[in-house]
Symmetry: C2
């Protein structure tokens, strides 16, 4: 990426330039084979090493014990919306869900097809601009499903509930953005295309004791136990997507690991949210305590500035800032790879707009 470009895309999102370059190199000549990584056997030593390194790095970053399995699957987080209940929810059982946005709603819809669902809390009443806090978790639920970061609405869980039942978390848009105590979760899943790699693979971290326990007879590809038995290669894996994830996970470690990611991300968010709060032309849309470090959503107080502001953003090389249609306005996605300098360029444009309209 050209350093005069500032990529705030919500996902697929920005990746480290060194990761893009290493991946392009492997696309031309993989691991000294003279062949492309996408035209060699996934069962060959060279690619098996990639898959194993990617899995091992996840294990290390999340400090997972042997009681957890790590899988790189396909189908996005969306396929997990049904795989979670297929694998964890017995036909006569009940699952608890916290509804914090569009993706949680989709997860609930799929689960309802497969069993009984209890929505323990929802922030739908105010267009999902906050994270519900006061809710009871039924102790007879097979699991509680939460969404740690809500890309569309710009909210993020800064604390996770104490749960008497296994906690299942869709971490698609904030995985590896901060240290997390993974041992509190029964299952974590994440589409790769925000903080981890390209679209086309989904990370699943699952406690071994939860696999194969729903009592359902599952087709092979929908069964975590089958993927586990196949060391995440029951069938041909999405080779290139896993390779890019491996390079990104290496980069995270080189940069100082999850504590360093959190520090970078906090610094970026602090700069942007301060400007949103200070600048009279803008207003944030998410409740302050629940603001996401990954996706900052904000609107122009007066829509008449829109054309001017959009033109200024384009001139500054800023892309991917348009908000989701269900919130409107703007959304600045500040994934791990976004440099602080890009946030500064955005803030400069916001301040210039203010000066022009002072």
């Amino acid at each position: 990426m050209n350093t005069s470009l500032h990529n705030f895309s919500a996902g697929p999102g920005i990746l480290p330039q060194s990761v893009i370059e290493a991946s392009a190199q492997d696309l031309i000549n993989f691991s000294g084979t003279g062949l492309s990584v996408i035209e060699v056997s996934h069962r060959g030593k060279a690619f098996v090493a990639v898959m194993e390194e990617a899995r091992a790095r996840v294990r290390q970053l999340l400090q997972l014990g042997d009681d957890y399995e790590v899988l790189f699957l396909q189908g996005g987080a969306s396929l997990q919306f049904c795989m979670v209940p297929y694998n964890l929810l017995p036909e006569q059982g009940m699952a608890a869900y916290l509804n914090t946005g569009v993706w949680a709603t989709k997860a609930i819809q799929d689960a309802r097809l497969l069993g009984r669902v209890e929505v323990v809390g929802t922030s739908e009443d105010r267009n999902f601009c906050y994270i519900p806090r006061e809710y009871a978790i039924p102790s007879d639920a097979a699991y509680l499903h939460i969404t740690s970061n809500n890309t569309i609405f710009g909210t993020e869980m800064h604390a996770f509930p104490e749960s008497p039942v296994p906690l299942v978390c869709d971490m698609s848009s904030d995985i590896f953005s901060r240290p997390v105590d993974a041992s509190r979760f029964g299952l974590i899943y994440a589409g790769a295309q925000k903080n981890m790699g390209p679209a086309g693979t989904t990370l699943v971290v699952v406690k071994r004791e939860l696999m194969g326990k729903s009592g359902r007879k599952l087709p092979a590809m929908l069964d975590y136990a089958v993927h586990s038995k196949g060391d995440s290669m029951h069938n041909t894996p999405p080779v290139f997507a896993v390779l890019v994830c491996m390079h990104t996970l290496r980069w995270i470690e080189e940069m100082g690991g999850l504590p360093a990611m959190e520090q970078r991300n906090r610094a970026k968010a602090e700069v942007l949210y301060s400007e949103i709060d200070r600048n009279p032309l803008f207003r944030g849309t998410a409740d302050r305590p629940d603001r996401s470090l990954m996706n900052a959503t904000f609107v122009l107080v007066d829509e008449q500035h829109k054309l001017t502001f959009d033109a200024m953003l384009a001139d500054a090389g800023i892309s991917g800032l348009e908000g989701h249609r269900s919130v409107g306005g703007y959304r600045a996605s500040m994934y791990n790879a976004l440099p602080q300098s890009s946030v500064q360029v955005l803030v400069d444009v916001m301040q210039e707009l203010e000066r022009k309209n002072g």
Copy 2:
């Protein structure tokens, strides 16, 4: 790929060098955006154009009418093993399957979990070395499932059955290798990683009238109708895999389309099978009328030559020739992108082995 390397990998398999290079270029700077194709929104104009070109090229190569939908999904052909019955087999219905190998067997296993299955024919009696011919297709079947090419066993259907019920075909390993009358099929699916692109996307061509007809309530990601409604982007698609497919489909057309592919593939197969039949040191494993143009399986008549032959293959820059464990020996995969010259190098090595042991 270096021209002194000869990639006979069974899959992921060889792709055209120009496709690899164009894809690497898009990985660095996509469509003039200055960003990588894997870090921009899949809803942006530039990527939507890629998805639409890929779908349109499939439509053109297979001469599909508006009564067919074209989808690029995830999960490999393996996920189709369950998606086909979920979508096409009513809970009280019956599906017919022809068992021609390992993959057909897996498709049957998944279908059996979801409904009644009748296996109308099988070549299991002789380790799948032929395609069954005499079988009856029950007219009350929801569909007949066949596998056009059996990568592991080196067999291929050179004619398709006249079927009174919708024909469903797993074409993973020979799609786009020859002209096919697609109008004879209700559904065609193919993992990309042989003739079409990298692992990570699966082509599904389905007659619209077959979608949403099983009466089952399906999770969104398992429902063809949902993917159709979303123009193959219900959720974030496997962006890079679809991009490489688009480049490969362009290349097929530039090379003269499916008739030219068939001519190339017949010429390569002719040279190799002639040598297998002529050379007293080797023996083909598939019945001659059913030999695959894509995967030629053969063994050494005398295993004592194995170490020598393997060393000679390596010296000649030949890779990916080891046979699948269930057949043993060798398997030469000659997908579209494999040049005739690579086959000649293999034949030269086979002849040299004969001279050494004459």
